[in-house]
Amino acid sequence: MTGPRKRGRVLADLWMGARMAVTGGRDGWTRAALTALGVGIGVAMLLLAAAVPGALDARAVRNEARNDTGWRPERVAAANTVLVTTVDTEFRDRPMRGRIVRAEGPAAPVPPGLARLPGAGEVVVSPALRDLLDSPDGPLLAPRLGGARVAGTIGAQGLAGPGELAFYLGSADLTDEWAVRRDQFGGGEPGEEFSPVLMVLVVVVVVVLLLPIVVFVGAAVRFGGDRRDRRLAALRLLGADTAMVRRIAAGEAAAGAVFGLAVGGVLFAAGRQLAPLVTLRDISVYAADLRPAPALVAAVAVAVPVLAVLVALVALRRVVVEPLGVSRQGAAVRRRLWWRLLLPAAGLALLYPLTGVGKGRADTADYQVAAGAVLLLVGTVTLLPWLVDLAVRRLHGGPVPWQLAVRRLQLDSATSARLVSGVAVAVAGSIGLQMLVAGVEARFTTRTGQDTSRAQVFVNFDELPDPGAALARLAAAPGVTRSAGTSGTFALGSGAANRTADVRIGDCATLAEYARLGPCADGDVFLAQPPAGEQQLTGFGPGDRVTVSGSETAWTLPRRLRTVPAIPDPAGWIGAGLLVTPGAADAAWTGLRAQALLSLDPDDPDALERVRNAAAEVDLRAQVLALDEERQATQFVNVKRGLVVGVAVTLLLLGASMLVGVLEQLRERRRLLAMLAAVGTPRRTLGLSVLWQAAVPVLVGLGLAVAFGLGLGAVLLRMVGAPVSVSWPVVGLGVALGGGVVLLVTGASLPALWRLTRPAGLRTE
């Protein structure tokens, strides 16, 4: 046969297949629509994933353009300079970026997103902050803007995301003593590099999030597979040769995938518009930021049809081998185990040799990790049908719904297994990842030494005219149950060493937070020395003459000065220095700072916000620190957060896609369902049978997911050199999430079941 003519035949077969995807009346259309929807949801997610790097970039670019921190060469005030000081705060765990600015001349630089610098008493806020101020929570937040008038909003180019809380507050009396002078915004140091362990984490996160989607797309192109198999088998019986049937199937699958791509594109474009409405913790994105890289879009556009065709061809072997059996809905095929084990084994083989990734590494390791993780997780997909088969083969008896479900699974477990495999992969991956996260958490977590049992908030004011009033104000804030306030400065020691020591003024009870004082009365002065082994303060002995900073007053230390051991304060510092009771302090000392350690009423969620307000009313630049016993590296927190968000979104969309799959399955059996209803089968029986039919593969799938998740976690932990330990709560959470999704899907499919089982459905033939 000549080339062109053969090509014509091939094209004709492909075209015939493509037409078969949509013909077949209402039924054919519905099936095509469901396939397109299933594939479309997957494609939309892939596009979303492809847009994440771009979104992060856009965010980073905007962040950099407004950067006003970091080292700058010293400058003098000029027409083109501005003074900026950072007054970041938090509102109910949401960070808020705050700046006080003062233009020093007419050509002062304006940060991006602002038309002009705010004048004194004016504040420019982000739209999200404006909304918050207008909300019932507004009064709890307003004091932190110093009572300034809202003069405008910050434009999108000056914000990290639409949900960001940010403000620029104008000030007339900002001085360069407490502010940075800049002649431009933007520029700065490059961000932190990801550490190798974090890199492993990121790679695995990406794999874990994307693989279930790919798996589901594979399942979606097989919607209505039974009928398609029968149709192709009929063609085969009519005399179509193997190659022809393959081409027709390929054409049909590709057509479905192409529709899916179109639907996915539309879904993504529509979903993008909704993106600004969503704020996950403190991350929000603009619709315009979600622009998938063209190369990735092209990859998706090619990979999805190719995947669809491959899946269709693999699924076809039954039709090719035994067309008669398929057309008569004969017994199920035997499943072989060996090749199903091959993939995960290969994955393990790739991952196992990788150890000690924490120390230096080669770039190829990233790919090896990715490939290994993919293969291992794909193992859940390949093993699941076999395992479900194995599990249901021995099941029998039981009540009617159980019997219906089990028998159905015995005849065709693959359809159900396919639907569940996406969830299984997601759960396996997330268990493995969470194990890794839990295992390496210690590395990225530092103990702060803060003691939240003694105090929950630390407040610091730099240089106040009246520290006592400020401390009283904090203590009086509603929700504050205990307050330990000190004022302070520092002193220059005697002798050549010119050592300095903190001077902290407070009553005996308050000073006891900083050192073991022993007996104490007003008028006493103590020298708190750090523990043995650390450098001791010298030049502050009894009778020594020291200089108190600020007022530069000379002070002779009393003879009764007692040396006492310093203890860590609730904020985690060991405050070596002079502890002075008020009676021993000199009223001439000025320019004192004030610090307070506060305990809050645990039942009052707004207490912390009121403390912040009280502090801001004294001085906007006050530092308010909510004490926490541990702190995690920001990047690690981001990765962890990304993981949680990603798993949640993946499971949610998988649930939606699964729902489409279940509906498709119900639709295929609607005549039988209507018939069962006609002969008087109670709906509860039918509903339960649908639930069991979903639950059995899910249970098997979750069991498999736990096994593979633990395996993956163990290998990953070994790889980064962390001790292997199983975190059962993590496993439980993963299983609960997966199970929850399935329950949700079954519940959501019940209305459709009720509709299909109306006995009047018998008429639709």
């Binding site: 008569r328 809905q329 004969g330 017994a331 008896g397 009540p399 009617v400 019997q403 219906l404 028998r407 159905r408 015995q410 005849l411 065709d412 005549r671 039988l672 018939m675 069962l676 209803a677 006609a678 002969v679 008087g680 089968t681 109670p682 709906r683 029986t685 006995p759 009047a760 018998l762 008429r763």
Partner: protein, 256 residues
């Protein structure tokens, strides 16, 4: 010949068989109880009326053929009688109880306990074995599995398909499948069996065998059969026929 009216009043009398004995040759006592009574049923699906004034009575133990061309509304009439479809107007009573006033749950229970069904095809659950299919209605009535399957096996034997008990519906012939379906319809000892073109997909030989077994078994258990068919040779297994044309029952009940 007298008393025959030009309006066709006698057309519905099938028991004028020679000798005046009931057509099946055994007496079920008289007067036979009126099990199901349908009066002036109307039902439309969208703009198309399927029933436009159909009335009939089904008496205990009789085999009643509902005849008519395709699209005449026979199946809709059967569905209304069985409480599967609610008529737009008119009334169906089963032993005096108004079906149109029953809840879905009550109708379900009625169909499960009092009625049996044989359809043209696709009624057996493909993943259950034939035995399990027959046992299904019993198990829905909360009969234990062992007992249900014992009775199911008995019925399969009675319908001469005992040998396919362990096979799935996809593995048996059409005639065998229909006989399994008949066994399933009769296994709960229903008062009425509704058969909608039960032989529609079979050839004459197998069709006749199914009909012989269906009517024979129904007579043995005293079940009435409402037989919807367009085939005369199938209708010949009935005691009496009602003709449906354009949504109306043509024949009047014989004068009381």
């Amino acid at each position: 010949m007298t008393g025959i009216h030009a309006d066709g009043g006698a057309a519905a009398t099938g028991r004028r068989a020679d000798g005046g004995a009931p057509a099946d040759g055994h007496d079920r006592g008289s007067p036979a109880e009126e099990l199901l009574v349908a009066e002036e049923l109307h039902r439309a699906f969208g703009p198309t009326p399927a029933l436009a004034g159909a009335s009939l009575t089904v008496r205990a133990g009789e085999v009643l053929a509902v005849l008519g061309p395709s699209g005449s509304g026979k199946s809709t009439l059967l569905h209304c009688l069985a409480g599967i479809v609610r008529p737009d107007s008119g009334r169906v009573t089963y032993r005096g109880a108004d079906l149109t006033a029953m809840s879905d749950r009550e109708l379900s229970a009625l169909r499960r306990g009092q009625f049996g069904f044989v359809f043209q095809f696709g009624q057996l659950v493909p993943e259950l074995t034939c035995l399990e299919n027959v046992a299904l209605p019993l198990r829905l009535e909360r009969v234990g599995r062992r007992e249900a399957e014992r009775r199911a096996a008995e019925w399969l034997g009675r319908l001469e398909v005992g040998d396919v008990a362990g096979k799935r519906p996809g593995e048996v012939s059409g005639g065998q499948g229909q006989r399994v379906a008949v066994a399933r319809a009769l296994v709960t000892a229903p008062r009425v069996v509704f058969a909608d073109e039960p032989t529609g997909a079979l050839d004459s030989l197998h069709g006749e065998r199914v009909m012989r077994l269906l009517t024979g078994a129904a007579r043995d258990t005293g079940a009435a059969v409402v037989l919807v068919t367009h085939e005369a040779r199938v209708a010949a297994y009935s005691d009496r026929e009602v003709v449906v044309r354009d949504g109306r029952t043509r024949s009047l009940e014989p004068a009381a």
